[in-house]
């Protein structure tokens, strides 16, 4: 009898102990989640692989988990993984890697990792290749020192290197991820955060040394009801409706222009030549669309949004299209019968605007079908593969240089129009060797005019500012200095009463 009771007591004690452990673990998790910064993300397909075109929301998360040699913090570059940067000559730059720079597994960042990361980006990414066009060779001096030799003096080299496009990953990780791309869900970066959980609904980031945990909620509708703001601390996606909850937020209007483009499939049956494309692009009425977007959206008059090096306020780009459109005949009967496939990049399209886009196009092609493209990584290829006729996407820059827009025409592999002009690509690449800003701006305008005359793309709308809602109890120092997707949350704190 006593023996049985002892066994029973033992079992009860073990069960009780397990329950206490579980309760403590869950409580700790709950506390952590309560302290965490909650941010909704406007994305259904977040990815951290820098080989593709990363959308702003992927960049926002990547910014937290990745480190670079040097980072652009608005108006100054800050050393991150690099301990020092030294120009030993105008064409040779020595980077010494900091011993404090460590990957999330605790191993130190080495020159080999930096070289492997550069090589991976050079090999796999088809945009933002300007940096590699300047680099002649990369030499490893020792485990902690790497030397970049340039082909010629490039004043904007560090500016471009410090943009958000050159993260460092562990060499072994890159090798494993090449074989198993699923590993990119939890990349082995060297940033202040690491991915602790990645589900279809959220991404949880855990700070390595300091900072609050971050929970990114993936919002598939690309918009948030004002009443749902109570769940979040920092919101940079579009908020619809009104709510008293908004009174708990500071609203910043950060100049971070997003330009929406309508690109055409040159192989589409709807147009036989470029003049017909020009006519179509010219005839798109965006007045109602503008009304729908409301302030501060404006009609895009140039290929670049205002504030970007190369922008022309004269509206030359649309003038070129307009002039060429006059050479086209009227629309044929085909327009009335055939279905016009309108593809759009999911994250560039809010639900509420879809109908306005359809209405704008319906005036020309009454039978419209919409086709969403979810991935930004290979959006050009996805569009061509979809055999759709037109494609809507948004594009924004990180250091406001026209090249960041022109890069979409630089490589054949990301081309979305079905047409590729080698000379144009070369001009774009060569423009990066122009050190004088005025001359480079003029070169960009020349390239833009050439793009305009091909009538494969038209900028429709520019939203110059990004509205960011920050809960009043959140202290986010320096958040107004950089676009939100470049902001590091490691220094964000929460005010306690």
């Amino acid at each position: 009898m006593n023996f049985n009771w002892n066994i029973r007591l033992g079992r009860i004690s073990i069960t009780f102990g397990i329950l206490i452990f579980l309760f403590a673990t869950l409580s700790a998790q709950a506390d952590q989640d309560r302290d965490a910064i909650r941010i909704p993300l406007q994305a259904a397909n977040i990815f951290f692989d820098p080989s593709g075109v990363q959308d702003t929301q992927s960049l926002l998360v990547s910014r937290q988990i990745n480190c670079q040699l040097v980072r652009n913090q608005g108006y100054f570059s800050e050393l991150e993984a690099a301990e020092s940067i030294k120009y030993t000559s105008p064409k040779e730059i020595v980077f010494k890697i900091s011993s404090k720079a460590k990957f999330h597994d605790g191993s130190q960042v080495t020159a080999n990792d930096v070289l492997a990361s550069f090589n991976y980006i050079r090999k796999s990414r088809h945009v933002f290749q300007n940096l590699f066009s300047w680099v002649d060779k990369i030499k490893i001096y020792n485990d902690k020192t790497i030397i970049l030799c340039l082909k010629k003096e490039s004043p904007q080299f560090l500016k471009v290197l410090s943009s958000t496009n050159f993260p460092i990953f562990k060499k072994e990780f890159l090798e494993r991820a090449e074989k198993n791309p699923a590993l990119w869900k939890m990349p082995l970066g060297c940033g202040g955060y690491k991915v602790s959980e990645f589900t279809d609904n959220s991404i949880k980031l855990q700070p390595i040394n300091q900072g609050l945990p971050i929970i990114f909620d993936l919002n598939k509708t690309n918009q948030l009801n004002a009443s749902d703001m109570k769940n979040y601390d920092i919101v940079s996606i579009n908020v619809i409706g009104n709510s008293k909850e908004l009174n708990n937020f500071n609203i910043l209007n950060i100049y971070d222009p997003m330009q929406y483009y309508l690109a055409l499939n040159s192989k589409s049956k709807f147009w036989k030549n470029k003049y017909e494309r020009c006519k179509f692009l010219h005839d798109i009425d965006i007045k109602k669309l503008l009304v729908s977007y409301g302030e501060p959206a404006i009609e895009a008059i140039d290929f670049f949004p205002k504030g970007t090096l190369g922008y022309s306020s004269k509206g030359d780009f649309n003038s070129v299209i307009s002039a060429l459109s006059k050479k086209s005949k009227n629309y044929t009967e085909l327009t009335q019968k055939e279905t016009f496939c309108f593809a759009y990049l999911s994250m560039s399209m809010q639900e509420k605007y879809k109908i306005e886009y359809i209405n704008s196009l319906k005036k020309i092609y009454p039978n419209i079908v919409m086709y969403p493209i979810k991935s930004t990584k290979n959006f050009g290829k996805d569009f061509i593969d979809s055999k759709c006729d037109a494609f809507l996407f948004g594009w924004k820059a990180s250091y406001y240089d026209g090249y960041e827009y022109l890069t979409m025409f630089e490589d054949k592999k990301i081309n979305f129009s079905g047409m590729y002009y080698k000379s144009l690509s070369e001009k774009i690449t060569q423009s990066q060797n122009i050190t004088n800003l005025n001359k480079r701006s003029l070169a960009y305008q020349t390239i833009v005019n050439e793009i305009g005359s091909s009538c494969v793309i038209r900028p429709l709308i520019t939203v110059p500012v990004k509205k960011v809602y920050i809960r009043k109890k959140i202290i986010a120092t320096g958040i107004g200095l950089v676009p939100t997707h470049l902001y590091y949350f490691g220094n964000v704190t929460r005010q306690r009463l």
Binding site: G74, I251, G478, L481
Partner: protein, 414 residues
């Protein structure tokens, strides 16, 4: 000695208070004036500085703004901005370019203040309240200066500077510090001078007078010598010294008079007291027939002589008293006096006066006149009678003089 209440303020406290108040008043006045001029100066300086910064920044910004390089524009604005100042640019289309968009109060202000932007055509500064804080807003027009489109307006440069109600330049602190040190030194010197030249002599004089007054009797008229005393204090000291000497003199006289009076009073008492025994001896002598005539006359003369001496003492005492209180006697004060006593006194006096001239002065009084009273002023009566006796003695050659007292129902005379 009368003690003063403690709430009476001492002169040195008064002077100290005066100095403290005067110093504070001067300091406050200096400080206020300093602040006013400093404020004016600082504001002018701030405006001039802003003007210079705007001019320089414009030259840097315009080329970048012209080619729409907002990245560079923001970098320049960021470099020019600081904790106290924020610079922003509004381009021709009204886009606000600023270094830090978290300072949204300024961009919101710009969006709401279209008129301000229009007013900016006239370059200058204004003070405005933005979100409860006062700012000095300075605006300047950004103009393109290249050869293609010279003077073309490309935007507006605005700066928001924290408006300080009291903006101090370091020089004001030096100025105030110097003023304070100067005043402190001045006060120290002035106080020292005042202490040595006025307060110390005054206190010494006060102590000296207090000591003298505390002694109770005016034995000493010595007031200590006061060094470095001002003229007025020396005069006060001398006047007090004179007053003290006068008081001492008067006091001495009074003491002397008091002593003399006491002596006379004693003599009068003796004279008065020996009268009765003398009268008894006289009466006894008349009945002592057994004593030889010669001896009896000798005793009688001796008794008379003692009687005369006592009368003289008594008279002197009275006249002395009268003299002492004479100022207070009135000629109209007439009282009934025993006439025998008055005459006896005056005769005794005369006997004593003419004793050496061998003049025998006799007083004969009828038996019934011993009790006679007359309404007389005693002093005047004695003076008149004395003169009459003197005149009579001068007129007689025999050496005998006799006074007789008789009376009727109304008068007593001879």
């Amino acid at each position: 000695m009368k003690k003063y209440k403690n709430d009476k303020v001492k002169i040195h406290s008064l002077i100290e208070n005066f100095f403290i108040i005067a110093t504070l008043a001067i300091l406050v006045a200096t400080f206020s004036i300093g602040i006013y001029f400093n404020q004016y100066e600082e504001q002018e300086k701030q405006k001039n500085n802003l003007q210079k910064i705007h001019k320089m920044l414009s030259q840097l910004i315009v080329p970048s703004l012209f080619i729409s390089d907002f990245s560079e524009v923001r970098r320049l604005l960021y470099m020019a901005s600081g904790e106290e100042e924020t610079f922003l640019v509004i381009d021709r289309e009204g886009t606000v370019v600023m270094p830090d968009y978290s300072k949204n109060i300024f961009s919101d202000f710009v969006y709401k203040s279209v008129k301000l932007i229009k007013d900016c055509e006239n370059e200058g500064s204004i003070n405005k309240d933005i979100s409860g804080k006062k700012y000095l807003i300075y605006c300047s027009i950004l103009k393109n200066n290249d050869v293609v489109s010279p003077g073309r307006k490309v935007g507006i440069l605005l700066s928001f500077t924290n408006y300080k109600l009291f903006s101090f330049s370091p020089i004001i602190f030096y100025f105030i510090a110097v003023i304070i040190i100067f005043f402190m030194a001045l006060i120290f010197l002035f106080r020292r001078m005042l202490y040595r030249k006025l307060l110390k002599p005054l206190v010494t004089l006060k102590d000296s007078i207090s000591t003298i007054s505390m002694e109770g009797i005016l034995t000493s008229s010595h007031i200590v010598e006061i060094k470095d005393a001002p003229m007025e204090l020396v005069e006060i000291k001398e006047a007090f010294k004179r007053l003290l000497l006068n008081l001492q003199e008067e006091y001495g006289k009074r003491i002397k008079a008091e002593r003399a009076k006491a002596l006379l009073d004693l003599a009068a008492q003796v004279a008065h007291d020996i009268r009765s025994p003398l009268a008894a001896i006289n009466t006894a002598l008349q009945n002592m027939a057994s004593i030889p005539e010669k001896i009896r006359v000798m005793i009688k003369n001796a008794v008379r002589r003692i009687n005369d001496i006592s009368n003289n003492l008594l008279m002197q005492s009275r006249s002395n008293n009268e003299e002492y209180e004479g100022n207070y006697a009135n000629i109209d004060d007439i009282f009934p006096e025993l006439i025998f006593v008055v005459l006896d006194n005056i005769v005794a006096e005369k006997k004593y006066e003419y004793f050496k001239k061998q003049i025998n002065i006799e007083l004969e009084i009828s038996d019934c006149s011993y009790n006679c009273f007359s309404n007389i002023n005693q002093a005047s009566f004695k003076r008149v009678l004395s003169n009459l006796i003197n005149n009579g003695i001068e007129a007689t050659k025999s050496g005998e003089f006799k006074c007789q007292v008789q009376h009727d129902d109304e008068l007593v005379a001879k």
